[in-house]
């Protein structure tokens, strides 16, 4: 699979401050790519470089095999974190204007608008001014404006902030639908649950440097601790605890269960899951046995606070 975007050792400096320090990213075509990092890490600087809003001081960016050039703005759709539309301009005119700025002809823009307005059931808004709409409604328009010109690459900065759960879900479904049709998506967010849910790939930027990058499952593998959550019903708890503590590191844990069992988190060290199971089965009834997968939240906090 080829890559839609390759960022190669990009450097950005503001005066003495280095916002990006030789950051490289590879975004595979057709993926949903999560760009993570705490506030001020350099995500927005990087996104602005990809959108050619600012120029890098070093390194290069390649879009779909070509070095980034002005014509590329037509194949990128960008929704900034700071949403904004002309408050006194009518919805329809505004969408037409912004679509034409992206290089669509008026007819194409109109056609696309009809499609999206119908899809999001907002046909009645054409002649309303943005200032008459609620924040959530304006966000819908913002989304439409972003995808109107059928971009190959969609860059969304905190796409779900400001949406109520219903609309957030609606937009999430639209993003997934667009992705299915072949659009590559980069999104930058703090909401780790949406990363877990949607992203195939992630990168984590912290203090101007990229710390982690890769397929979500690979990153998780990299951060696995070889720990298991175990539930066991046993008559001889003391004996069980003695056996386990000889071979493994134990700690109390909690998970949802209908049984009144002993709940443990067990680190295997160099042992295999079967070693653990064998020890357990000898002492009682195993009701729960699951590998503890690190959440993106854990990975994020662990990496950033390291």
């Amino acid at each position: 699979m080829s890559n839609i975007l390759e960022v190669n050792k990009v450097v950005k400096q503001y005066g003495d401050y280095t916002a990006l320090n030789e950051v490289s990213l590879t975004v595979p075509k057709g993926s949903i790519y999560g760009l993570l990092g705490p506030n001020g890490a350099g995500k927005t600087s990087l996104i602005r470089i990809i959108n050619q809003i600012t120029m890098p001081d070093g390194g290069s960016v390649t879009l779909d095999g070509e070095r980034l050039k002005p014509e590329h703005v037509a194949v990128i759709g960008y929704m900034p974190e700071e949403r904004g539309l002309y408050k006194t301009m009518k919805v329809g005119e505004q969408c037409l204007y912004l679509a034409q700025l992206k290089g669509l002809s008026k007819q194409e823009a109109k056609q696309q608008l009809d499609y999206w307005f119908e899809r999001l059931e907002i046909q009645g808004w054409w002649n309303k001014k943005i200032q008459e709409l609620s924040k959530g409604m304006a966000q819908k328009i913002q989304f439409v404006v972003t995808v109107l010109h059928k971009p190959k690459l969609l860059i969304l900065d905190e796409p779900f902030s400001g949406f109520d759960p219903v609309n957030a879900n609606l937009i999430k479904d639209e993003i997934i639908e667009l992705n299915k049709q072949g659009t590559s998506v980069i999104f930058s967010t703090h909401r780790m649950e949406s990363v877990e849910e949607m992203c195939d790939y992630i990168a984590l930027i912290h203090k101007s440097n990229k710390l982690i990058e890769g397929r979500l499952s690979d990153v998780k593998k990299q951060f696995r601790t070889n720990s298991y959550e175990v539930g066991i019903l046993s008559d001889n708890i003391e004996g069980l605890m003695y056996d386990l503590s000889q071979k493994f590191t134990l700690s109390q844990t909690d998970f949802k269960s209908l049984n009144d069992e002993l709940k443990l988190e067990i680190n295997l060290g160099n042992a295999t899951p079967n070693d653990l199971l064998n020890t357990l089965i000898k002492r009682g009834q195993v009701t729960h046995f699951v590998e503890k997968i690190p959440s993106m939240n854990d990975i994020f906090i662990q990496t950033v606070t390291k």
Binding site: T54, I76, M79, P80, E82, K87, T88, L98
Partner: protein, 434 residues
């Protein structure tokens, strides 16, 4: 369609559709006319008649004061001074003129008093002084045994005929017309720069505060956006001026055709008395018109357009970069002052220096400096400026414009993405290096 054209179109439509634009375009001429009519009405209103008590103890002057529509003089020489002074305090009379009883004219010159509650106007006291002085002078002549009639006959009045080196006859008062024409154009340029420059700035600030700016510059270059904004706004301004010009011309046409009829009628009634005077005035007006046509009208109009565009572009790039640097209009004040200063300087130099000495060093230098040249040069042109000076001044203006746009675009590019803090001059300079 090119993106720049799209932006120009949007900015133009956004400005023209704005309610305040429509109101200003159609209401302000009405307002102008209204104020004119009002002032005219005020000036035709007769002033309240003021009664002046004259207490002339010599009895020689009281008959010299002739009552008119404004002032009525009453001879109260017989009444006791103390009573008169009380009546002034009780406001029965506007004022009291006291001429002491003396035959010594030298003593009279400084012995006359005028008492009133409200201080009299300068022209009124001058009139009084004039009347008394005339009378005393006449008496002095008589005492010296001089024949007043002979003296009057001996007095000569001189009117110098002005003539240009090219041989045409010139008229006195033409300089005033030139100042008015040049001043009007220069002032118009300044007004336009301030009004529409501010509009450009506000529109940049609006894009910043509504945060649409990032969406737009992910599609177009900041430079394109800035230029589109400046050009679009200026087109709206030109449209406004065109509407005003058309309204003004048609109003003038209507008024002159209406008054033409009336003037004919009134002229008929007073025909005989007026005839000679009219002929004289008529030939004068004819000469004024001829002189007006002799003004370099083509040069004036063409340079007006060029200076208008150059000056407006130069200043509105400043305005745009200021708008980009700040978050709201209140913060813009500290940056605006240095921009408005040269404009005001230009107008002052125009009205004071150019009027006295259109081709002096000060006027010439400031008509070359790009920040003041659109105003000062426009005021000089009606007096006839060598073509090379105009060309040099225009080249300087447009050269500076290119430099300023480059500089403004840099500040603009950085500024539009900066939120939340009020920048200092030092930071603005730092932005140039980004």
């Amino acid at each position: 369609m090119s993106k720049l054209v799209l932006i120009i179109k949007r900015e133009f439509i956004a400005k023209v559709r704005n309610k305040s634009f429509i109101v200003m375009t159609f209401l302000s001429p009405l307002l102008f006319v209204g104020i004119g009519v009002f002032v005219g009405y005020l000036s035709t209103m007769k002033a309240e008649l003021k009664t002046i008590a004259v207490h002339d103890e010599t009895g020689r002057f009281v008959n010299e004061f002739k009552s008119d529509e404004e002032y009525k003089y009453v001879d109260l020489s017989k009444v006791d001074l103390k009573v008169l002074k009380d009546s002034i305090v009780s406001k029965s009379y506007e004022g009291l003129l006291i001429i002491p009883n003396t035959d010594d004219n030298a003593q009279l010159q400084n012995g006359i008093q005028y008492i009133s509650n409200d201080s009299p106007s300068v022209s009124f006291t001058e009139d009084l002084e004039d009347i008394i002085a005339k009378k005393i002078t006449a008496e002095n002549f008589q005492k010296a045994g001089l024949d007043t009639l002979k003296i009057n006959n001996a007095k000569a009045t001189v009117a110098i005929n002005l003539e240009k080196a090219s041989g045409e006859e010139a008229l006195k008062g033409l300089n005033e017309i030139k100042i008015i024409i040049g001043g009007a154009f220069g002032y118009l340029i300044m007004m336009f720069i301030v009004l529409y420059g501010n509009m450009v700035m506000r529109s940049v600030i609006e894009e910043k505060t509504s945060r649409i700016i990032e969406v737009i510059i992910s599609s177009v270059k900041p430079f394109q956006l800035m230029m589109g904004k400046i050009i679009g706004t200026s087109l709206a301004g030109i449209l406004q001026f065109l509407i005003w010009a058309i309204l003004g011309l048609s109003a003038m046409f209507i008024v002159s055709s209406m008054f033409g009829v009336q003037m004919g009628a009134s002229a008929g009634a007073q025909a005989q008395a007026m005839e000679t005077a009219q002929q004289a005035a008529g030939s004068n007006i004819g000469m004024y018109i001829k002189e007006l046509w002799n003004l370099p009208i083509a040069t004036i109009l063409i340079s007006f357009i060029i200076y208008f565009i150059g000056g407006y572009f130069l200043y509105s790039s400043f305005y745009a970069s200021i708008g980009a640097a700040v978050d709201n209009e209140t913060d813009s004040q500290q940056f605006l002052l240095p921009i408005i200063m040269p404009l005001i300087l230009g107008v002052y130099i125009g009205f004071f220096t150019v009027m006295n000495d259109p081709h002096g060093t000060v006027a010439t230098v400031f008509s070359m400096i790009p920040l003041t040249s659109p105003i000062v040069m426009m005021m000089r042109i009606p007096f006839g400026v060598p073509m090379w000076q105009i060309i040099v001044s225009m080249l300087l203006l447009f050269g500076t414009f290119l430099g300023v746009v480059w500089f403004a675009a840099k500040i603009y590019r950085v500024g539009i993405l900066m939120y939340g803090k009020k920048p200092t001059w030092r930071e603005l300079i730092k932005w140039l290096k980004y």
